[in-house]
Each structure stands twice: as C-alpha cells, then as structure tokens.
C-alpha cells in the first residue's frame, strides 16, 4: 500500500486551497494540493462580478470603510454570522485585493474624469477624482451601501484564479490532479490526512499529513437547478461529516441567485444589476421597486429571489415551453458597456440562449447558487472537535455569511480565509506536538476499509442505479427544500432522502472497471451527497423560523428569541439515516451590531431578550465616544484584532484615510 507524507494536505485547488498552500509553503512547510480537475478549472473561475473590499477609490465608494462593509455583511447574514469573523474578514479584504494586485491580477482601474453610469434606471454622469486615477475600481452590488465590489471586467474569478494558480506553480507547489479524497484518516481526536483515489487508474493512496485543509467548494449539485459547476457536490463537507466527529454548520442556509438564465441555470452576474440592469415581468413592468422601495433590484440575493418567485406566483411570470421566468433587461446599459464590461454575459446569452442582450431581454429565474453552511470551524479555520482538520472558503462554515451571503463576498472569503487559515495552519505545523505520531496500522485500516467499500460497489450484488438515485435526490431537494419551504414538504423530503440513502447502500454497477469509471464515482459520491442533503433538509425542517435564505412559509418571521443559533450536524454512526443536530447559541451580549431590521426584506421579527439591553449599551458607548476615532469605538464594542495573524493586522490606507509616514 502506498503512503505519501507531507506537512499540509489541501483538498481542493480553487482560490481558497491555493492561497492556503501558498501561505503554508512560504512558512517553510511542504504542501500537496489534491484536485479533481486542473486547478484553473475550479469553480472559483465562475465568479464573474467581483470581490468586495472597502478600498473606497471610486467616487460612489467614497467614505466606505471596514465598518460599513462589516454592517452590510452582518445585515446580509440576517445576524447569523460570527461578528468577530466578519471583522477579521473586512479588515483583511483590502489587503487581499492589494496582494493580488501585486501578484498579477489585472483589476479594472479607475479613470479620472466624467463617465456615464446607469443608476435606478437613469443615466447619470459621475466624476472620478484625479487622485483615484489608476487605483483599483469598484462597482455596485446587492446589499451594499457603497460601491465596494472590485472587479476584472466580468471575469473576476477567472483572473484571480489564473494569478493564484500561476503563483502556486511559481512556488513549486505540487498539485495532484484528477485525484479525489474519499475519506479522512483520523483517530477520533485528530485528523491525519486522507485516503485518496486516483480517478484515472483507480489506485488508492494514503496521504498522511500534520494538517488537512478542506477547500473543496460548495454543494450546489444536491439540487437539480443550480449555477454551480458539476464538481460542486459537497464531497469535502461529506468527508468531514463521515468522521462522526467534525460537524457541519448551518447546512440549511442555501442561497438562490436571482439571475440564472432560464432554463439552463447558468449564472449571469449580479454585476448586471449592479451596473444598472432591471428586472421586468410579463408586462414589461419593473416590479422590484413595488416590493423593495429602498434597495429595489439591489436588495440582498435572498430577498430579490423571493420577491421574484412571489411575483411569478401572482401570475406575472413569462410563460414559455419550459415553464415560467422573468426578464433581466440590460439593454439600457448600452452595447459598448455590455460587450466590454459584461462580455461573459454576452457570450452566455449568445451561445446558450441565442439572445443578443444588447437588444433583447434575458430570461432569468432564481437557481441554487451558494452553500453558506459547511465544515464548522473556529476563527482559525480549525474544526473545534477534530484537531488538525481545517476548512476554508465555501466548504467551510467559518462563519462570515450566516444565513445569506452578499454578492462579492465569496471570492473575497476564499482569498481572505486562505490568507488567515494558511497562517494558522503554519502555526499548527510549527508546534512540536503536531508531529505525525500515529501507528501505520491506523492508516492501513483506513485504506482497507475504503478499498472494501469500493469492492462491494464493484463486485457486490447491489441492484440500485446510482444515476437514478442522484436524479431523485436532486429533484427532491429542488421541489421540497427550495426558496420557499413548508413543514409538510420538508418532512416528506427528509423521508424521501432517508429512503434514497438506504437504497444507496445497495447500489450495483453496470460498469465494473476498477480504473477510470464514471459510474463508480457517481456511486460513492451519491452515498456521501445524500448524507449532506439530509443535513440540509433536516436542518431546514427543524429550524422553525425564517432567517436569510432559509424561508419557512409556516414560520415567516425571524425568531431571535429561539433561533439565534447555529445548527451543528454530525453523523454519529454509519448506519444512521439522519444527522444528529445540536445548536450553538450566538451571544447577543458580545455583538457589535445587535440584531435589528436589515434595511430591506421583512420588517417584523421576534427579538432576543438580550437585544434591547445590548442595543442600548452599544448606543450609549457610541455616544460617549462620539469624538473618538472610529477604530477606538470599534475596539471598545468588540475587540477582534488579536484574532488575526500578526502578518495581517493593521489599518488599511485609503485616499481619504492616509496612513502617514508611520511605517
């Protein structure tokens, strides 16, 4: 049996995984990245619109700070986020943009002088400052008070991933491509790496590591209609879940993006609306201002998606042979803007719809887009229950998104978490007690166990068809665990998924090849995906409130009194058909921004009993410190800087906030 030893094993070659690897390598540790596909093909490349960071270079971003980014993110999360982690994130995001600017990302830049933009359906001339010329530009995005989203045309994720992957090659970091982690090696207290299957030869290899980081992205493919790439199947989360020790946080928090092209489900960027695009109904009426007078098309994604579905339910959808949809109108942005700044959108419309978006409206309908939940970690990115196991990016519940993520905060999280978690992994590996000290017998036991499972699939007498099980799971999730959720549907979804899980233990294969075998891959993945799907459905059934993207029609109000807490799902025994759920309360008494109205969406919610007291204390402190610098006020409300690795502490310079010569 083959065993590979390394210091850090990174599962996933997207932005988060690559950045962790670069950070750990720079600190002198050996790193191996495992990737299903060549890293530049990772789903990070699909992030079109941009990355939030409060640089405040453009005139519409002037006055932006970490404070406003913090508040936007916490409101977006519907107060589900860990506010200290959000603080760590917003303070590091500008540094991440600037690091990538130095490493090669061709960020779109500010041009001084006048330019025409579309705001609220009107052409407006804005004037960029001379002193901003040549700095990184920002565009508008949903749920943000300032223009904060840094971008590279509409290929932001692609350009970031090119640069990050190039720098990983420059750092001589090995990426083992076309391999798949199928189990974590652990002793119940600590993780020691993974059992890995070569997708070309079928060979199993044990990778033994001091630290293992899951950066495998989201779980969109649990659903039939998703913007996610076909590799986003939640397998990284499943690996953690199957340890029985590590937990998954908030898996019921699933985001639906308002503008997936209909019916293919391919994303067109939020930048379409950020740059001035409008949503219209069957009558050509712009309906979002009727529902959301403040933010209109640019409320948070959960709110816009629900309003769209609500409007379709009122009979205002456009019917075609595939079903019903609404329109996204970007024609008012003009051909030059679309062909230059929204070129991927143009291409997608052209190739998949035969639509010219400079002249015609785009058929859109919400589709599954983002997994807020994931492997639960502490602020260092480490599992609180399984030492040596880390997670970052969409695969993690770190938890800066709570129950709804803002557009532009996902690629930002991948890089920021990669920077921070990479440092903490390096710290962990530096400690003498992190030496790998397990008997090889444990490694061999895991290898034998996993080989045994594959043998049963290939040689056993199972009769179930893995592709059919997968389709049934996806259809159940889409029909019953979607944008609008009801107790009855969720109960039925959980029951259906349990049956599918039991059937998945009896899969038989038509193709018996031990090497490359797509059917075998579907078989072992669907067994894992069903467990993750059950975490989503069961978590959604149990959470009898509405928060962010989790919307219960039978419990439409946010209920802080009972539900201001994070769901933690574990899978105790292999024979179980349900996860075990536990809850971790969020402490209102320590929140910098106590719960309130988000500024869009529903206005009624049930307060937590501690909220009035905390809100009053925060208000009193702010008044008392009215003349103090904003940093001092923040520090008094909720200190967080000591949580950041030393390397990434410090204020961020802006045109209007010069640092002076102190450094």
């Amino acid at each position: 049996m083959k065993v590979v030893y390394t210091d850090v094993l990174v599962v996933g070659g997207g932005l988060a995984g690559l950045r962790i690897a670069i950070g750990a390598k720079r600190r002198g540790h050996d790193v191996i990245i495992l990737s299903l596909v060549p890293p530049k093909r990772s789903h990070s490349a699909a992030a079109q619109g941009g990355m939030q960071a409060s640089l405040a270079n453009v005139i519409k971003g002037q006055g932006d700070t970490e404070d406003i980014h913090f508040e936007d993110t916490v409101r977006g999360s519907d107060w589900g986020a860990d506010q200290q982690v959000v603080r760590m994130f917003v303070n590091t995001a500008p540094k991440a943009v600037r690091e990538l600017a130095a490493w090669g990302v061709p960020w779109s830049r500010v041009r001084k002088g006048d330019r025409d933009v579309i705001i609220n359906g009107q052409k407006v001339t804005i004037t960029e400052r001379d002193e901003a010329h040549g700095l990184v530009a920002q565009r508008d995005f949903g749920g943000t008070k300032k223009w904060r989203t840094c971008y590279v045309s509409d290929g932001t994720g692609h350009a970031m991933l090119q640069t990050m992957s190039d720098q990983a090659i420059g750092a001589a970091i090995p990426v083992h491509e076309r391999v798949e982690a199928i189990a974590l090696i652990h002793d119940g207290g600590r993780c020691y790496g993974a059992i890995v299957r070569n997708l070309i030869t079928g060979e199993l290899v044990a990778y033994v590591a001091r630290a293992t980081a899951i950066a495998s992205g989201g779980a969109g493919r649990l659903y039939a209609v998703t913007t996610n790439a076909v590799i986003c199947e939640g397998i990284g989360s499943a690996l953690a879940l199957e340890t029985g020790i590590a937990s998954l946080g908030n898996m019921e928090a699933v985001q639906f993006h308002p503008t997936a092209i209909f019916p293919a489900g391919i994303l067109v960027t939020e930048g379409c609306r950020g740059d001035g695009g409008l949503l219209k109904d069957v009558d050509g009426h712009r309906f979002m201002p009727d529902y959301e007078p403040e933010k209109k098309e640019l409320a948070s994604r959960d709110v816009v998606s629900r309003r769209m579905e609500e409007h379709i339910a009122k009979g205002k959808g456009v019917r075609n042979r595939f079903g019903e949809h609404l329109w996204l109108d970007i024609t008012l942005l003009g051909e030059k803007h679309i062909r230059h700044n929204l070129r991927e959108v143009f291409e997608i419309c052209h190739y998949f719809l035969g639509v010219d978006p400079t002249k015609e409206w785009i058929p859109v309908r919400p589709a599954q887009h983002y997994t807020m939940g994931g492997v639960r970690t502490d602020y260092t990115g480490q599992s609180p229950t399984l030492k040596g196991l880390y997670a970052a990016g969409e695969a993690a519940c770190w938890d800066m998104h709570g129950f709804n993520r803002l557009g532009g905060n996902s690629v930002a999280e991948t890089v920021v978490a990669g920077m921070i978690v990479g440092e903490y992994i390096a710290d962990y590996c530096d400690r003498p007690e992190s030496e790998v000290d397990i008997p090889t017998r444990l490694v061999h036991d895991f290898l034998r166990r996993e080989q045994g499972k594959l043998d049963v699939l290939i040689d056993g007498r199972g009769t179930e068809d893995s592709a059919a099980l997968r389709i049934a799971m996806q259809e159940t999730m889409t029909a019953k665990v979607g944008i609008f959720r009801r107790g009855g549907d969720l109960e039925s979804a959980v029951a259906d998924l349990q049956k599918l899980l039991q059937r998945s233990r009896n899969i038989g294969l038509k193709c018996k090849a031990r090497g490359a075998n797509p059917e075998l891959v579907t078989a072992y993945r669907v067994q894992k995906m069903l467990k993750v799907a059950l975490c989503v459905a069961y978590g959604a059934l149990t959470r009898t409130e509405s928060r962010g993207a989790h919307f219960r029609q039978d419990f439409p109000r946010r209920n802080d009194a009972d539900w201001l807490k994070r769901t933690l799902a574990t899978w105790k025994a292999e024979s179980d058909t349900l996860p075990s759920l536990a809850y971790e309360a969020l402490d209102v008494g320590r929140m910098e921004l106590p719960p309130g109205w988000r500024g869009y969406g529903a206005k009624d919610y049930i307060d937590h009993p501690d909220t009035p007291q905390r809100a009053a204390a925060v208000e009193a402190l702010k008044q008392k410190m009215a003349d103090a610098p904003r940093f001092a006020v923040q520090e008094s409300l909720m200190p967080y800087e000591s949580l950041l690795p030393e390397r990434y502490r410090g204020r961020n310079e802006r045109i209007d906030e010069p640092l002076g010569g102190q450094k």
Partner: protein
C-alpha cells in the same frame, strides 16, 4: 461493450437543470459517434461507437453526453466542469473541429455528430484528455507566473497604480482558459512535441505587457526564442480560428516574433 447502436430510451430528453424538453412536434433523432479507447484497459482497441438519442430543445453536447452516460453507457469518459463555457475542460473535436462541447448546441449541427478527443494531449480515455498535466509543464518551462520585484509588498498601503487601458489589455490576454483547442489545431505541434503552442506564446505576451513583471526581452528570449517557441510557428493560424475566447493569437504571435527576432539579433 458492444458497439451496436443503443436504442433510444423511453424517457424524453433531460428536463433536469431545466436544460431540455418541453416542445411539441417531431424531434430529430441524433446519431452521436464517439471515438472510444481506454488506454488503461489492455483489451481496449480504438473504435467508433454510435449512440442514438432524441434531440431536445436547447440541447447542448453537455446534456447529450450526460444523457448517454446516464441512460445508455455508464463507461463513457468525458470532462465537463462549469458547463458554461468558462473553464476550458470540455474541449473536444466536434465534426473535425476542436471546440468547447458544453456550449455547442446540437441544433447547430447535423443529425450525425462525430466526437473525438483532442489530439496531441495524453489520452485518459474516450473524450477525456490530460490538458492539465501539459499546461502545468508548459507553465513551468515558460515560468508562466508574474515575476515580482517585491513578492511581499506592504499590504496596508495603497496599491500600485496602473493605467485603466493597460489593465484592460492585460485582461484581454488573461482570458485564456487553457482549453487546448489552439494546440490541438496546431500544425507545428504535430511535428514538435515540445512546442509551447499559442497558449504558451500568449502567456508570455501577457507577462511581457505587464509592467509589474520584472523580466525583459532577453529573459523571454531564453524561454521562447527557439523552434519550440515563437520561431516554430508556421503562421497557419488555426489557433486563431478555433480559439473559443476569440483571443488575438495571430497578432500576439506575430508581435512576439518581431520582438524576439530583434532580441536574437542583438
């Protein structure tokens, strides 16, 4: 595995992911022929296998191939990731021409469709080729990453400025998705297995354009100033014709050749 044409399944074309189905009226019967070979299997010999399936509205080759695999032949190998034309995984030879399968609509093709893996790259099996391995090797040879003057800049400070037009021009070359179509279509690559291809020359042009990169023409000459680099190109321009991202490859190669020739004379 028999190479007999498999009967069309009873279920209508995929409705999942909303990608298909729904129209009235007669549908076309497609015959999709795939060049099959599994180098991992000593018993496997290269052969064509034809699958029959019913066309659906909006059907792409992504939908068609997945339907074949799910309903007719579980062993069929191919690669898709984003299925939206942005990741470059699914390049294959479609009716003799290398392009992205995911955004190829069957309605734009005849009823008989022939699919083959990209030539030149290591074959994994059927339509799946190892572009990633080749791209990594190419990148290592060309040192295809930005060489920074200061790899550890002060991140608390304002970023370095760049002219907006220059940033746009760099992005234009950065749009490459490393799908491999240009290399698969390249005459030189047929003769020189170490040729870096349009993808490699475009990478170098991208870094040459970038003022943040510390290398000069002499450095670039070191990596592409020979017949495996810019002087190997015979200007057949197939790379330019097949590039799914419409990159200005012919212009970039001609430009780099002039610069490198000048460097060679010095």
């Amino acid at each position: 595995m028999s190479d007999a044409t498999v009967k069309t399944v009873a279920m209508p074309a995929s409705t999942r992911n909303g990608d298909g189905n729904g129209s009235k009226g007669p549908r076309r019967q497609l015959a999709i022929s795939v060049l099959r070979y599994n180098p991992q299997d000593p018993a496997s010999v290269p052969h064509m296998q034809t699958y029959a399936l019913e066309e659906a509205d909006g059907m792409t080759l992504f939908i068609a191939l997945n339907e074949i695999r799910e309903r007719q032949d579980a062993s069929l190998q191919f690669d898709f990731v984003c299925r939206a034309g942005i990741c470059g995984s699914c390049a294959m030879v479609i009716n003799g021409r290398p392009t992205l399968a995911c955004r190829t609509l069957t309605k734009n093709l005849g009823a008989e469709i022939t699919l083959a893996p990209l030539p030149f790259f290591e074959l994994i099996g059927d339509l799946s080729v190892n572009t990633g391995k080749w791209m990594r090797g190419m990148s290592e040879r060309l040192e295809g990453w930005l060489h920074m003057a200061n790899p550890d800049p002060d991140l608390t400070r304002l970023e370095q400025r760049m002219e907006p037009e220059l940033a746009d021009r760099i992005y234009e070359l950065d749009r490459c998705i490393e799908c491999g179509c240009c290399v698969a279509a390249c005459g030189t690559a047929r003769m020189r297995e170490d040729f870096v291809g349009a993808v490699g020359l475009n990478r170098v042009a991208r870094f040459r354009l970038d003022p943040r990169d510390t290398r000069n023409d002499a450095d670039f000459y070191d990596v592409i100033g020979d017949d495996n680099g810019v002087f190997g190109c015979m200007s057949l321009l197939a790379c330019h014709d097949v590039c799914p991202k419409d990159l200005p490859l012919a212009t970039q190669i001609a430009f780099m050749r002039r610069k490198m020739a000048a460097e060679g004379i010095r």
